[in-house]
């Protein structure tokens, strides 16, 4: 093989290497060293406290990356409300990055963020121009989102507008390459509504969004998947996600990030510790590189910095004695076939992936169960069966009827829904009473 040929295009066998010091490179290095990267959700309005949170994350006894979660006023572009709150000293549910502006954020990050501690901005905005402008001017190069995953669950904006907005922002973001920085973006597509979305649709959305990001110039991406209701099902799902990513994202750097269960959380400390440990072990078993943790406090409120540190260290400890499983060894219950059918169908709609996604949702070829967004068809439904497997009850117009064999139960009562939503909280609440971890709940350092 000639040198020239290698330089012209990365060959399928050698994906793009992110610049040293970038988010992607940091996570890759940790994974090669056998360490699971753990990451909190964290965002407070006050820059000094935000800095303190990042410092505490960095110092935790674990391999960590930092998080700046943006508040929900900023997410929706309501900077006036964020400014009023700051002026009055009212606490917000995140860091108002646009209102603070790049100078404040640069100073807040100075000496904390760096090659040894990359920081990711998490925001949930379907029209994120202001946020991207600000984070780029703040010296940040890692963020999260996607045109579908930050639109359908989090806004009322038309999907078409979100796609256009995201295309624009991703192109700006990708231009960081010109400065020798490898920008990193994580799709949130594997977390749609947090719960009760069967794995195949999470995988399909994650992969399609990753392909959208690549189409607009990104070369370092992570694919998300949120822990659902059954460990065996999640294990299969994550192996499928990695298999499909290997098949379709040959020329870019990517890794998989697992989210600790996003739904109703066990109310007992032992139960939530057990659930977090299971997420960490799931991540390691499936060769995933990064884990977003949850804290014991999550059932009640936004966690404190100390609670986040405890959760990071607990997850890192739980990951230690787990080993990764070999590809092709998990039972195949059809997740691969379903996900592949969804992805292939969407890709055939239009060479422009953004446009293909808009057509797919308009025609119900993708349909997120229980999602109330006006651009979601709303014909799909799902439930948790008696074994804790997340299953389709209705698939609407999605091309997976023959594989998924939906139960056809159209109506679920509020009690049924609550039972599905609280399945994990109940299971882990009970398990913790009898389980080995109840004798050794996590303790603060």
């Amino acid at each position: 093989m000639t040198i020239g040929r290698q330089r012209a295009h990365p060959s399928p066998a050698s994906p793009a290497r992110p610049e040293p010091g970038s988010f992607g490179a940091f996570v890759n290095a940790a994974q090669q060293a056998g360490d699971l990267v753990v990451q909190p959700r964290m965002g407070v309005a006050d820059p000094a406290r935000m800095r303190a949170g990042l410092v505490a994350t960095k110092r935790a006894a674990a391999t960590t990356v930092g998080t700046i979660t943006v508040d929900s006023f900023t997410r929706l572009g309501d900077h006036a409300e964020a400014r009023r709150a700051l002026a009055k000293g009212v606490e917000l549910n995140g860091y108002p990055i646009v209102t603070h502006g790049p100078d404040v954020t640069r100073a807040m990050l100075d000496g904390v963020a760096g090659a040894d501690f990359p920081v990711q901005v998490r925001h949930g905005s379907s029209q994120p121009e202001d946020i991207f402008r600000t984070l780029l001017r703040s010296g940040l190069s890692a963020t999260e989102g996607g045109p579908v995953s930050y639109c359908l669950p989090y806004s009322r904006s038309p999907l078409r507008e979100s796609v256009d907005s995201w295309a624009r922002c991703v192109q700006w973001f990708a231009s960081l390459e010109d400065l020798g920085v490898t920008p990193h973006l994580e799709t949130f597509g594997g977390c749609l509504l947090g719960q009760l979305c069967p794995p195949s649709l999470l995988i399909a959305t994650s992969v399609l969004e990753a392909m959208f990001l690549r189409q607009h110039g990104l070369r370092s991406i992570s694919l998300s998947y949120a822990q659902q209701t059954n460990a065996a099902q999640d294990e299969e799902a994550l192996m499928v996600l990695r298999r499909i990513a290997t098949e379709v994202l040959r020329d870019i750097d990517w890794h998989v990030v697992v989210y600790t269960y996003m739904g109703m959380y066990p109310r007992s400390p032992a139960g939530s510790a057990l659930l977090l440990a299971e997420a960490a072990k799931l991540a390691v078993r499936t060769g995933s590189a990064r884990l977003i943790v949850k804290t014991v406090a999550e059932a009640y409120r936004i966690p404190t910095i100390a609670e986040n540190v405890t959760a990071l260290e607990w997850a890192a400890k739980a990951a230690l004695d787990e080993e990764s499983i070999a590809a092709g060894t998990t039972p195949d219950t059809g997740i691969y076939a379903e996900a592949r059918a969804l992805i292939d169908t969407v890709l055939e709609l239009d060479p422009d992936i953004g446009r293909a996604l808009v057509i797919a949702f308009a025609s119900g070829l993708l349909d997120v169960p229980f999602c109330l967004h006006p651009d979601n068809r709303g014909e799909a439904r799902s439930y948790v069966d008696t074994d804790g497997w997340l299953r389709w009850s209705l698939v609407g117009a999605m091309p997976i009827e023959h594989i998924a064999q939906p139960s056809g139960r159209e109506h679920s009562s509020s009690a049924d829904l609550l039972a599905s939503l609280s399945y994990v909280a109940r299971k882990f609440g009970q398990a913790a009473v009898a389980g080995p971890l109840s004798r050794q709940p996590p303790t603060a350092p």
Binding site: S72, F73, R75, L76, D78, E81, A85, V90, E91, L92, N93, G124, P153, Y154, S155, R156, L193, G194, Q195, G263, Y300, R301, I302, F370, C371, L372, H373, P374, S412, S413, S414, L417, L418, L421
Partner: protein, 150 residues
């Protein structure tokens, strides 16, 4: 409480709007409430998450519901709720509409009396703070006068 004789549906059925606030993206609370309220025999229009104040006001003027249920769990409820209920109460058509709010209304664990009092003063008929349970909401629904056939 208990299971009293079911009301005749033509009299009992309230027109209900379920909505989140402008800044809140949570959905499951809304999906659950829609089912719950429908099971009590009422008609629900679910506006979903992140409903701008203008949209909620416009929908209320268009649909003239008997009851508006605002559910929010992102901790900004006491800010968003206070603002939007004033907007709703400014409209003479909505002065008699029942408007309630519930969920995680602040970002701290303390369910503070002041938050509830502020929201009541701003125009809500009832406030179901984090500690409130489903039963108290159901009892409230059952207690509403039902002679509002629209």
């Amino acid at each position: 409480m208990g299971t009293s004789v079911e009301r005749p549906p033509e009299l009992a059925q309230l027109q209900v709007i379920v909505s989140s606030t402008q800044s809140d993206s949570h959905t499951w609370n809304l999906v659950f409430l829609e089912l719950l309220i429908e099971e009590l025999g009422h008609r629900v229009v679910n506006l979903g998450s992140c409903v701008p104040d203008d949209v909620l006001v416009a929908e209320c003027l268009r649909q003239r519901p008997d009851l508006v249920v605002i559910s929010t769990v992102n901790g900004h409820g006491w800010i968003d709720g206070k603002r939007v209920v004033r907007r709703l109460r400014e409209r003479p058509e909505l002065t008699d509409t029942y408007i309630v709010i519930g969920g995680k209304l602040g970002i701290t664990e303390r369910s503070d009396r002041r938050t509830t009092d502020t929201l009541l003063a701003a125009g809500f008929d009832a406030v179901f703070s984090d500690g409130a349970d489903i039963d108290s909401f159901q009892s409230y629904l059952r207690s509403l006068p039902i002679a509002t056939a629209s």
